[in-house]
């Protein structure tokens, strides 16, 4: 999406050369545009959510707030109340405001997922590129270790570690980041190897460029676009993983709100027709589907080859 930005001095000069290929602009379809709108909406909530929320996430609302329409009698309960002017999206199983908790939860869920994905990329890309350029021995060692981690289902890996050391937000970020670094490693390594055998890297070597120069000037720019698409997909997986852990009661701990745990704790309200579990569920669904729609467009733009690589 940042096709037009980032044209600094050297790049601009190159574009003026007659044989430079014309830059293709990314054309988003209407579904892609819808996706961008939804993602921007949630990004805004992450920034502003706690400020615009009517209550605090941990506030258990006072009984006096809930008054039967047309009389002065308060409701007998404050939990699982339907939407009203007091609580716009109803209240949850403890009588907390669902809207406020969803707004606060956006920051927790998206923040943790983003931090984990960034960590996964930092570790995965560093090691992946190192394996691609560092020679056969390093490549074999790193790949074998990686395969061992990949051969366990992610949720099992998560459960074993959480059983051993418990669950706090820093542990959650580290754990998720390292689990997903394994798949990032695979892609970064594969892409890096592709570039390493290309003619222009050969030319750079013959010119006598150092390894660091080749990595920063040849490899990273060439793997950037595919990795960006993969980042979107990986981010979705991380959101689903974190929400699933929270849903199992092993992720973000109460009273902090998080979309996954909100679905779980309010599940018992479903039989009474409460919408408390549906609001955070819809929040997760809209965000993940929106990101997928954008990724679809971007990978079509990048030639669609990626889809087969990213399993």
């Amino acid at each position: 999406m940042t096709e037009t930005t980032g044209k600094t001095g050297a790049a601009a000069q190159f574009e003026e050369l007659p044989d430079a290929p014309p830059r293709r602009r990314l054309q988003l379809s209407w579904t892609g545009k819808l996706g961008v709108c939804v993602v921007v909406f949630w990004a805004a909530i992450v920034v502003a959510g706690p400020t615009i929320a009517p209550y605090h996430e941990a506030d258990i609302l006072d009984e006096a707030l809930f008054v039967v329409p047309g009389s002065d009698n308060p409701y007998p309960d404050t939990d699982y109340q339907p939407p009203s002017r007091v609580v716009y999206l109803g209240s949850d199983y403890l009588g907390r405001d669902t809207l406020s908790r969803t707004l606060f939860g956006a920051r927790t869920t998206i923040g943790i997922s983003l931090a984990s994905t960034l960590l996964a990329y930092l570790v995965g890309v560093t090691l992946g590129i190192a394996a691609a350029v560092g020679g056969a021995t390093l490549d074999t060692v790193l790949s074998r270790i990686n395969d061992a981690f990949l051969s366990m289902p992610t949720i099992m890996l998560g459960l074993v570690v959480i059983a051993a050391i418990g669950s706090t937000i820093p542990i959650l970020i580290m754990l998720t980041g390292l689990i997903y670094a394994t798949s990032v490693f695979r892609i970064a390594r594969a892409l890096g190897l592709d570039v390493m055998v290309s003619d222009f890297v050969e030319a750079a070597r013959v010119r006598g460029e150092g390894l660091w120069w080749i990595i920063t000037r040849e490899i990273l720019p060439n793997v950037a676009m595919p990795m960006a698409t993969d980042f979107g997909l990986r981010f979705v997986y991380v959101i689903l993983f974190i929400s699933s852990l929270s849903f199992l009661g092993l992720g973000v701990q109460p009273p902090q709100s998080d979309w996954g745990s909100m679905v779980r704790e309010n599940l018992s309200g479903l039989p009474y027709g409460s919408i408390a579990p549906l609001v955070p569920a819809l929040a997760i669904a809209t965000l993940t589907i929106a990101i997928n729609l954008i990724v679809d467009d971007v990978s079509a733009h990048a030639g669609g080859k990626l889809a087969r690589r990213m399993i």
Binding site: D147, A148, F149, S151, M152, P153, T154, I155, M156, L159, V160, V161, I162, A163, A164, I165, G166, V236, L240, S243, S244, F247, L248, G249, L250, G260, V263, R264, L267, L270, P271, G273, P277, L278, A281, I284, A285, T288, I289, N292
Partner: protein
């Protein structure tokens, strides 16, 4: 040559299992607070701790303990759980707890596979036979939606529709383990339906993509030019070449069921292996977590291995590597 390739894969599979067992062992054993501490809890005194450690073999160095654990695992002795421990006893043997739970999980997974695999392959094939039609678009959009939301979301909405609005089934499946006939069907219905939906959408998408991929190959083009009817092309030419990749897809997706089962058993309080493991994680019953994780990872590796074998057997080029 084929035998050689198979033996190689088997060796790799066993090696992976060993590495996974080391990882699980390290993950749960090297950290502070060993099983003796957990079992004794409040009642721990230095003497009783030392005695219990000697009894359980915990005073040995880590690599010795690992081989003891692995040896016991091979002979079916999975150790003792924290559950039921107290004065004088050291807890319930894990194998006793596992067997009924495992049976429940196998039953659930079996029913899911029996329903999901034929259903999703048929729908995936239909979508691939008529690409671009309304049926194809419905299948593609629905499955894209389903795979981008978490499993628990599918389950939540199913409960909402089937149990709350339609009132056909109870919202949770509390099973005692000895239901029969209609009771059993009712208890299994919701977890099965959720897992079928989750698993089918993946298989459908990949079946469709695989068949379409085969359809774009030169010999299919030739068949079209010869004037072979569409149905015959799909059923006689494309399908046979797509069977290997499709078996691969099915085995891979059954392996992904491992994580689906964890979520679904928790939501519906289904007394399976995964529920046992989640409870063990919550009470930090490490020996039980180890045993369950080993079973799940082994299943996963075996299924991946089957997927791998299927793709070798179905592809002559892989069968006779140059």
């Amino acid at each position: 040559m084929l035998l050689h390739a198979m033996l190689r894969r088997i060796a790799v599979g066993i090696a992976t299992l060993l590495v996974v067992s080391v990882l699980i062992f390290i993950g749960t054993s090297v950290l502070p607070g060993d099983v003796a501490n957990i079992i004794l809890g409040q009642m721990a005194t230095p003497e009783s701790l030392a005695a219990l450690r000697a009894k359980l073999g915990l005073d040995q160095p880590a690599h010795v303990r690992y081989f003891f654990w692995l040896g016991n695992l091979m002979t079916g002795d999975l150790g003792v759980s924290k559950a039921g421990s107290g004065f004088g006893t050291i807890g319930t043997p894990i194998s006793e707890m596992l067997v009924p739970r495992m049976w429940n999980t196998i039953r659930l997974a079996g029913v899911v596979a029996a329903v999901a695999v034929p259903l999703s392959m048929a729908l995936g094939l239909l979508a691939a036979m008529y690409p671009g039609t309304r049926l194809d678009r419905i299948v593609t959009f629905t499955t894209l939606g389903l795979i981008s939301v978490p499993e628990f979301l599918v389950a939540t909405f199913l409960v909402l529709v089937v149990a709350v609005y339609l009132g056909w089934l109870p919202a949770t499946a509390y099973m005692s383990g000895n239901e029969t006939g209609w009771q059993l069907v009712k208890a299994l219905a919701m977890p099965t339906l959720t897992l079928v939906i989750v698993a089918s959408s993946q298989i459908m998408r990949m079946t469709r993509a695989t068949v379409l991929n085969v359809m774009s190959s030169p010999y299919i083009e030739m068949a079209i030019l010869k004037g072979v009817p569409r149905q015959r092309i799909i059923l006689r030419h494309a399908l046979f070449n797509a069977i290997g990749p499709i078996v691969n897809v099915v085995a891979l997706n059954l392996a992904y069921l491992v994580s689906g089962v964890v979520i679904v058993e928790t939501i519906f309080a289904y007394p399976g292996l995964a529920k046992l493991m989640i409870d063990a994680v919550q009470t930090r019953d490490l020996p039980l977590v180890q045993a369950c994780a080993m079973i799940f990872c082994a299943t996963y590796i075996v299924l991946i291995f089957i997927a791998d074998m299927a793709s070798i057997l179905s592809n002559p080029r892989l069968r006779h590597p140059k």
